[in-house]
Symmetry: C2
Subunit: 357 residues, 2 copies
Amino acid sequence: MNAAILGYGTVGKSVFRLLERVEGISVRYVLELPDRLNESYMVSDPEVIFTDKDVDIVIDALPGTHPSYEYIKRALECGKHVVSSNKAAICFGFEELNKLAGEKGVSLLYEASCGGTIPIIEEILRIGKLDAIDKVYGILNGTCNYILWQMDKNSMDYGEALSLAQKAGYAEADPRADVSGFDVRNKIIILSSLAFDSFLEQDIPTVGIERIDKDLLCRFRSEGKVIKLLGMAVCSGSSYALAVAPAAIPETALEAGVPENFNMISFNGEYSGEIKLYGQGAGGDPTADAVVRDVEKILYKDPAEYGRTFEKKPGYDPALLRGTCHVGDQIYPDSVLSDMALKAEKEGKSFVFEFNA
Amino acid sequence: MNAAILGYGTVGKSVFRLLERVEGISVRYVLELPDRLNESYMVSDPEVIFTDKDVDIVIDALPGTHPSYEYIKRALECGKHVVSSNKAAICFGFEELNKLAGEKGVSLLYEASCGGTIPIIEEILRIGKLDAIDKVYGILNGTCNYILWQMDKNSMDYGEALSLAQKAGYAEADPRADVSGFDVRNKIIILSSLAFDSFLEQDIPTVGIERIDKDLLCRFRSEGKVIKLLGMAVCSGSSYALAVAPAAIPETALEAGVPENFNMISFNGEYSGEIKLYGQGAGGDPTADAVVRDVEKILYKDPAEYGRTFEKKPGYDPALLRGTCHVGDQIYPDSVLSDMALKAEKEGKSFVFEFNA
């Protein structure tokens, strides 16, 4: 089979190198900027790729919603299998792109979009086939985890920890997509849609870590709690709720010990019980590892996903995520997360949700 | 496809129930004791199963090495696919049974033999295809973890914690296979053979938890360390070492926080980095979950394993596992685990290895 890689940044380069180890696949094109076409296989016009009948798989290793979304759509329309590591684009066109892949009889796989090397989508789909999954949650953003981990460990200010994360290559120069919680939002929507077999399109409470300071971390530590940015999704009967927020979790919870820029994602199956997966959630090589796994599924005709339609239409019920909420210094027991997150936003205060798995 | 289930204990019953949810498979036989043949599909003569041409998959849900090993072999010889949850039998005939499956062109799958519901074999094989794995280790026995966890949490004696584990159904009336470390030995041999692509047949140091008392746990706690029973495997160039032993690990390590009867297994891939998987390592439903996943692989013609031969023949070098060893009250820095474990055994003393991942 022939592949084309869209984008030649950190992920694209790692994918290129790792694909050399896979028999039966060769990279025919790499989409690059016009001023960087250093190799014969590099092109800057994506239509060259989409219209080449010999290209079987298009690998999207671009960041951001656009033009990734448009490229994925075009590739599917041209009958190409698509593998994407781009959570923003996949989340943006989730229902439409999955449906389109089904209509065209091609695969749309995106393991690398959530949790890097961690095989979370594979596990959720596998368990979900037999089992009812009622909860998905976890640490889904390595940048935020690194910042909170540094702040907590070294009693550091937010700004100082952010600079450190940027120096270490764990945060972008413009870190807003990560620290605002929007990156986690994309991921928890993708994961819970698959887990609950429904496209969950609601706007969801999304609180980042910008207002977490070291005094707040200290206050929770003195009560035996650690703050982590969590994506949370619960389903009960025909209702569901999702949220992204800084969460206070007991020091004894495994999530409390997740260091540096690692991710840890959990879900519960009726038969399987609680499963947690831990690993590198970002970075070129770990992401490429997940991309190449998806490519191999197509190559070896694993019973891969040929699109997906969501039959269930559960109702959004934010009240399913309730508990003790902290808005600035105020404590609100047994409150609805989304209400209190909104209150914190309006008042310009920090927000922390006490999370018990 | 038609399946037969060997054994109708906790695992066999869960497998039976869970298979009802899988389209395309029906259970034709259950092998039961002669005095328990309550249903028309129950038989007590395994030859009825092996010689029935319409049986495609034999599911081994028996405990212990024999007669499981003989049944697996016979089923493979008769051209049946085999799925087994039995680590003792699989480890005992590992190289031979894998080779036989390859010769017969049938699948031999045993995800449920290591770590219950945790998809550890799948992950190791997947990562190992592209990546070099140089380390596998973890908490692989729920019974031992439950006992050590109770002893540590509630400052309990070994005997008291063992009774509690038996009452909770986490330990057998005869707990020796678990507490002696032999169960972990089988699992770490299976996992590291797959990870290092070699059949590692060496006798390996195997120390259980019988000599761990609450004073020892306290002593390590006061130094910020927790004792867990670990299976450990390392590979360096063309050498490897394996061991099972109580290990002192820092309180900050994720393994330190693994509660109750859960398992956590880790490995390192060159591309993927460190991956950890956590979940229920035993019990009827979690084990059945892994069994049924293997059955589905065969059913859906997933590129499942059709046997396996091990080409590499690395040399056993116990010196690869060295560090600080505790024999009773004595501390031996930078010592070889296997030497010190032997010394402890001879002197009838406790043994603890300081493990750093």
